[in-house]
């Protein structure tokens, strides 16, 4: 059980990307690969999961292959966290686990057992916005808003990590979050505002 939990999504991607090279591989090796793949990739297994999300305890059953992102969006209907690529390349799905930012599309749901997850929905205190949410409004840190939950979760972590000593540093630690609308200046300003 322990072992299976440690398979990350990245691992799947790596194995599947071998498939492209398959055409060049002799049939014997191909068979070996297929067998190996079957043994390595865990099959569907429904697992119990106890996790705290936005200060609320959840006991759910989840497919061992479900990502945290899908658990949040599909199972728990917490749709504030967005899916932009599902491959760890855009940052739209950023959430916090025990205060650390992670890409929820690269995190298996079962890995969060016993942990505290915070999503964009858990940031404000009732009607009172988190200072970063307020700053994004004041500094115009968005246009279409689709990347915004991820940006804000990353931005909060960026401040907590203390990576705000210069614009360059902010940029470095926010570079995993894409914004196609190009609201980057507003995002940097928002972080500077909260960091002071």
């Amino acid at each position: 059980m322990e072992r299976k939990q440690s398979f990350s999504r990245r691992f799947f991607l790596k194995t599947t990307s071998f498939a492209g090279a398959l055409a060049l591989i002799p049939p014997k090796a191909k068979a070996l690969y297929t067998e190996l793949k079957q043994r390595l990739i865990p099959t569907k297994e429904i697992m119990p999961l106890t996790v705290t999300i936005n200060k609320k305890a959840y006991e759910v059953k989840a497919d061992s292959r479900t990502t945290l992102l899908d658990l949040l969006r599909e199972n728990l209907h917490l749709t504030g966290t967005k899916k932009g690529c599902d491959h760890g390349q855009c940052g739209a799905c950023t959430v916090h686990i025990d205060g650390q930012r992670v890409l929820s599309c690269l995190t298996l749901a079962v890995m969060t057992t016993g942990k505290n997850v915070t999503t964009i929905e858990g940031l404000a205190d009732g009607d009172k916005l988190h200072p970063m949410q307020q700053a994004f409004i004041e500094c115009d840190g968005f246009q279409c808003g689709y990347c915004t939950p991820g940006q804000i979760m990353s931005a909060v972590a960026c401040v907590n990590e203390g990576h705000t000593r210069s614009v360059a540093e902010i940029k470095e630690f926010m570079s995993g979050n894409l914004c196609r609308c190009g609201a980057y200046n507003g995002i940097v300003e928002s972080i500077q505002k909260v960091a002071i």
């Binding site: 969006r73 209907h77 749709t79 504030g80 966290t81 967005k82 899916k83 932009g84 690529c85 599902d86 491959h87 390349q89 855009c90 739209a92 999503t119 964009i120 929905e121 940031l123 404000a124 916005l129 949410q133 307020q134 994004f136 409004i137 115009d140 968005f142 246009q143 279409c144 808003g145 689709y146 990347c147 915004t148 939950p149 804000i152 940029k171 926010m174 570079s175 979050n177 894409l178 914004c179 196609r180 609308c181 190009g182 609201a183 980057y184 200046n185 507003g186 995002i187 940097v188």
Partner: protein
């Protein structure tokens, strides 16, 4: 005024397509796209997929009750491939299953055999094969043949721009919900709800009134969801039609990148002629547009390339011809600028090349030839020009002369780093170039408690159009913005809409809101006049208080609304607006197609690392003609975002198709878009307030597309830096200017 979605955006409470709560029994679709770019389908075996777990049904063209056709301008695009596939990813079958996973798993079990046909990806090859989407078009002014004979300098060359992936962070998708009496409601991530409705009606063979297309907002569009959003909505509707169950399909990023068209790549030839004083006397351009496998919007994009082929310059003798070339790529489409940027790039390349040959700076040629009021564009419209004010103000405001000296000094003192600078004036016409599309409607209801509800045909996609619409209503009524609510965009509330595109959305829909509000207000004023025993012309409303001859009365907005209701006065109105005074005769290629033009100038500075070929963008400083902005905050965001997207197109966004027509840049790891580092270190925007009367809403000029073209300046600044390092470099005019190209240019012999 802040974006009205600020609060929900920052709390993760804004609803996009993929966030809509699912209705019980919802099924999930996925498209099986052709694995080959061109060929004849020999065999399609769905049996294994059909037997796959969770699969409910698989649809192909055979299941279409109406016509298998979604082409908007030219009917050349089947929804599903029948026997021929024209591009890799072309929809062949739509699998519907009980879960996304099951649908995706079933797709892998579909067996298809295709007899390959020749794959063409190069537009010039397509032109040789006479494989054109529409007949070529030519815009003509004066007589360029004759004028070239008088030129002292004649320069010719080739300029190329690659495509651009839209990469809206929200992928395409739709959710179809069957309603009673055979109606279907489709929640769609589209910029053009009416286009979706119209094509869906034809495919399903039902009247348009059965189909409600509803859009809350998009997570970015940029033109990519104008025509390209249609097919996904129809697949879902088709399945819902047959199965009587809700069906949803939200594309995975890789599906979206593979199956959707992008900005049209262009390969163009130019010839430019100048006299001894550097006046451009003649210009010829031949544009080869890579349209992809179907027309989509390419003919309209092509037209705008011609409209903007002389950018911000007056050239008395012009011959510009454009070919829309059919290739085996996904049908290319609208993207912010809509062919305009592609045309502007070519004239800027021509000027840069001429400058090099003559031995002057491009700056001098640009400055000398800026268009003035009264000058004629190649399509016959006379300019009301702000080109010079923008240009001159940018020079003084951003200290151009001093910067130039500094850069020269820097380049003299440094070997391994070189700086480059460029000027990029822009001129962009506002209106749909298809005249009939310049109309809009808005539906305004004032409820008896004084609150107001506004519906328009505008789709909110981050451009802040709903905020502007709300501002229009609250300004006309003079009431607290909190009293106004914007509705989602639905074809059942507002019919026959034009897509949210051409930068014209706020103007067209805003004017319709204005008209509707004014009509309601006029009726309410008559009621007020009756109560106050005065004439209606003496009545006005200010901050929710009724005034007579500018003196406040005791009557409030709320009271007057209720009183009007009690007197059985209509408090609802549908406003209709059609842009006046615009016309265009395509048989002569002359007319007055634009309501007005937007002008601006950008000065771009870059530094190139001459060892590595990498670069950074030091500054993009802009003077932009806003007219009289009605929302500076939103407009600034549009300019910044447009510039960043333009820089992306010109520098790092490289679409790669292999010879077999397969997209190789098919994820975010192989296709790079601007990240937070790509923003210029300095980005200043100066608001040029112009007072010329224009047809913009509240005289606040359109701002969606024009700023993208400032990004073109980055290409030329980089090229100048390369030339500063290696004056002999034969670095050409092929965008994007990736670090690889810079490096090759630096060490070119």
């Amino acid at each position: 005024m802040k974006n009205i979605d600020s609060y929900t955006h920052t709390r993760g409470e804004s609803i996009y397509l993929d966030d809509v709560p699912l209705t019980q029994g919802t099924l999930f679709g996925a498209i099986f796209g052709s694995p080959a770019a061109h060929g004849k389908i020999k065999k399609l075996d769905l049996s294994a997929a059909m037997a796959s777990e969770g699969v409910v049904r698989i649809f192909t063209w055979k299941d279409i009750p109406g016509v298998n056709q979604i082409g908007g301008i030219v009917p050349d695009e089947p929804l599903f491939a029948e026997d021929i596939v024209d591009f890799n990813g072309m929809p062949v079958a739509f699998v519907v299953a009980t879960s996304v996973e099951h649908a995706q798993a079933a797709i892998k079990k579909i067996i298809i055999e295709i007899d390959p046909l020749t794959v063409v990806t190069d537009p010039r090859v397509a032109r040789q094969n006479n494989s054109l989407i529409v007949p070529p078009r030519t815009f003509r002014l004066g007589d360029s043949d004759a004028a070239f004979k008088d030129c002292v300098h004649v320069v010719e060359g080739i300029a190329e721009t690659n495509g651009q992936e839209h990469l809206y962070i929200e992928t395409q998708g739709a959710y179809a919900l069957p309603q009673e009496h055979g109606a279907i409601k489709v929640i769609s991530s589209t910029q053009g709800p009416t286009a979706v409705q119209r094509h869906m009606a034809k495919v399903l063979g039902v009247p348009m009134h059965q189909l409600e297309i509803d859009v809350t907002r998009l997570g970015g569009g940029f033109g990519g969801k104008e025509d390209q959003a249609t097919s996904w909505a129809i697949f879902c509707a088709l399945a819902a039609y047959h199965l009587k169950k809700p069906v949803k399909y939200s594309l995975h990023r890789m599906e979206d990148m593979r199956m959707t068209g992008k900005r049209n790549p262009y390969s163009s030839d130019f010839r430019i002629g100048l006299d001894a004083e550097l006046n451009i006397l003649a210009y010829e351009a031949t544009f080869h547009q890579n349209a992809g496998a179907a027309a989509d919007l390419s003919p309209a994009v092509l037209e705008r390339t011609l409209f903007h082929c002389t950018n911000s310059y007056f050239i008395p003798n012009v011959t510009a011809t454009a070919y829309s070339c059919r290739t085996n790529l996904p049908p290319n489409t609208a993207f912010r600028g809509f062919g305009g940027p592609q045309g502007m790039f070519v004239i800027e390349a021509a000027i840069a090349k001429a400058a090099e040959k003559i031995g002057v700076s491009a700056f001098e040629i640009q400055q000398k030839n800026l268009i003035k009021s009264g000058d004629e564009f190649p399509y016959g419209q006379l300019a009301v020009s702000e080109a010079l004010p923008c240009w001159n103000r940018s020079l003084s405001l951003f200290d151009h002369a001093k910067k130039k000296k500094e850069i020269e000094k820097f380049n003299a003192e440094n070997i391994l780093y070189k700086k480059g600078m460029s000027m990029m004036p822009i001129c962009f016409g506002i209106s749909f170039t298809k005249i009939l599309m310049n109309q809009a409607r808005a539906l305004v209801h004032v409820y008896m408690d004084g609150s107001v509800n506004v519906s328009t045909g505008a789709v909110e996609m981050g451009q802040g159009v709903n905020t502007k619409m709300l501002q229009v209503a609250s300004t006309i009524f003079s009431i607290d913005p909190a009293k106004v609510k914007m509705n989602s965009t639905s074809t059942f509330r507002v019919a026959n809409t034009s897509p949210s595109a051409a930068s014209a959305t706020a103007d067209l829909n805003g004017k319709a809101v204005q008209i509707a509000c004014n009509n309601i207000l006029d009726r309410m004023k008559t009621v007020a006049a009756d109560i106050l025993k005065c004439s209606a012309t003496e009545v006005s409303i200010k901050n929710e208080i009724v005034h007579v001859n500018d003196a406040a009365t005791e009557i409030s907005w709320d009271f007057l609304v209720l009183e009007s209701y009690l007197r059985r006065i209509s408090l609802s109105e549908s406003g209709h607006y059609a842009t006046p005074d615009i016309h265009f005769d395509a048989s002569k290629e002359k007319g007055h197609p634009f309501a007005y033009h937007v002008y601006g100038t950008a000065i771009t500075e870059v530094t190139v690392d001459c060892l590595r070929g990498t670069y950074k963008i030091d500054a993009v400083n802009v003077v932009h003609d806003f007219g009289t902005t009605m929302n500076a905050l939103i407009d600034r965001g549009q300019i910044e975002g447009g510039i960043v997207q333009g820089i992306g197109w010109m520098t790092m966004e490289e679409i790669v198709y292999d010879e077999a027509g397969r997209l190789r840049s098919n994820t975010l790891s192989t296709y790079k878009v601007p990240d937070i580092y790509s923003v210029p270190q300095m980005l200043e925007i100066d608001f040029l307030e112009t007072k010329n009367d224009n047809l913009a809403i509240f005289r606040s000029k359109a701002v969606g597309e024009p700023p993208l073209m400032y990004g073109i300046g980055t290409f030329f600044a980089l090229r100048n830096a390369v030339k500063a390092f290696n004056p002999k470099s034969s670095i050409g005019f092929s965008a994007p200017m990736t670090p690889e190209k810079v490096l090759m240019g630096l060490y070119d012999k």
